[in-house]
Amino acid sequence: MTDATAPAPSPAGAVTGALIRGLTRYAPLIILAVLWEVVARLGLVSGSSLPALSSVAAAWVDLLRSGDLLANTWASLYRGGAGLALAIVIGTALGVFMAWSRPVNALIGPIVELFYPMPKSALIPVTVIWLGFGDGSKILLIFLGCMLPVTIGAFNGARSADRTLVWSARSLGAGRLRMLRDVVLPSALPELLGGIRTALALTFILLVSSELIVARAGLGYLIGYLGADGNYESMFAVVLTVAFLGFAADRLYQMFAARVLRWQQ
């Protein structure tokens, strides 16, 4: 490997360079992790309020082996995915429809505007009243909570569709549906994707809060259960798992959005 760092930029050299840059960049996180371990090991804080990072990692492996972690992660991801998918489909349709027709906008716009600033977490007890404690109430909550950011993204995007593009498409004889697909939706895409990113972040917030408050499965439920049990190592492990999933979902989504929008350059 030593001669791989020859003057010519070899692939291995590039990898080492990227590694060093990554390490410098994320060094503060590593320092915090080490500090956490040292503080906990030295007993500066009680073990129950801050278990050592190494014991949290061990608890994470145990949870993974027992299958608890995977089963609850699956339950959470299923709810989040279903709710978000519904919100994206119906939210986009509603937003484009509002931009498309003035009477629809006049009728639905004020309702969207009224509910958009509402703290969506207030819907948690209502969805429980309607659909009980299971998957249905979480999916409904995430759908209702995430729909409006998508709607507003689609609406603003579709409304800003270039007038000249719309006119040329019309004069070239494009039908209403073709125009929607080939002109309006593509121009709405950047704002729509921004709205979906907000919805993705909201999905995790609503998912975890509703599972913490009322649930019999899911990562939020697991956190609450382990905490009530006094099993703090495992609770920290699940909290970090949820935080990582939220972070990873956002990163993956951004990569996806950048790919989709590549034609814009």
Binding site: P117, V126, F247
Partner: protein, 263 residues
């Protein structure tokens, strides 16, 4: 939304018509017997419940506490977020330390940390406010950073040239020039602060709209739950509109601020 035709007043009336229809539809649906009163209490019943809460004074205690927690957390996040953002811009060490924390911490669902914060700080207001700050600070920091980075170099150079001292430069030039962006960050942070306040109240109980809704839900008192939704919707709407109003007032000198915002 700008009506060019002669019937502008008709379009102006549309919001009231549509919200009126929503409320009438709610009342009608609830009375039609399709849903039980438990699933969907009538709007009139909910209004009556809010009226009772107002007479007993509970309404003001609950709304006041939720507002107090959200706004205190929001203000701390606003001040600290601007300080961290400006610090990251001016000092490479601060930037090095906070940059990865923000890029990893911003997209995380911070609400998952609530049980840990309860473990550390107990079931008091300080826990709720800490959670609100933790969640609301990220958009303020990133918006401040973008705002100060984009301040015109020439503005700073000319001010320095005219002998402005550093502290004054900050107050007179950089912060005002970055204000539109910072304010956008604050407008993102405020609804987040309210979402977190309500979730914390629901989980930790006690007074506040969230706590009152959970109590009502435990006693199968669905009129109480819906009353909570109406209250929180009104509070959220008023706060968001107030922010937009302050923005127009504060940034009247800034051309972009005159354009309608997303909401």
């Amino acid at each position: 939304m700008k009506g060019g035709d002669g019937s502008i007043w008709l379009w102006r009336l549309a919001p009231f018509v549509s919200i009126g229809l929503l409320l009438v539809g709610w009342e009608w649906l609830a009375r039609s017997g399709v849903f039980t009163p438990f699933q969907l209490p009538a709007f009139s019943v909910v209004v009556q419940r809010i009226w009772e809460q107002a007479q007993s004074g509970d309404l003001f205690i609950n709304v006041g506490l939720t507002l107090y927690r959200s706004l205190v957390g929001f203000l701390i996040a606003a001040v600290a977020g601007v300080i961290v953002g400006v610090g990251m811009w001016r000092n490479a060490g601060i930037r090095w330390f906070f940059d990865p924390l923000i890029s990893v911490g911003f997209p995380m669902p911070k609400i998952a940390f609530l049980p840990i914060v309860i473990l550390w700080l107990g079931l008091y207001d300080v826990t709720k406010i800490s959670m609100i700050v933790l969640d609301a600070i990220f958009p303020v920091i990133t918006a401040t950073l973008i705002g100060v980075r984009n301040v015109d170099r020439e503005l700073i150079w000319s001010a320095r040239n005219l002998g402005t001292r550093e502290g004054e430069l900050m107050r007179q030039i950089i912060l005002p020039a970055a204000m539109p962006m910072i304010f956008t960050g604050l407008q993102v942070a405020l609804p987040i602060a309210m979402i977190v306040a309500v979730v914390c109240e629901m989980l930790m109980g006690g007074y506040g709209i969230g706590g009152a809704m959970m109590t009502a839900s435990r006693f199968a008192n669905s009129a109480g739950v819906f009353a909570g939704i109406v209250e929180i919707a009104v509070v959220g709407f008023v706060l968001v509109k107030a922010m937009a109003f302050i923005r127009r007032r504060l940034l009247a000198w800034h051309p972009e601020s005159l354009e309608p915002s997303t909401v």
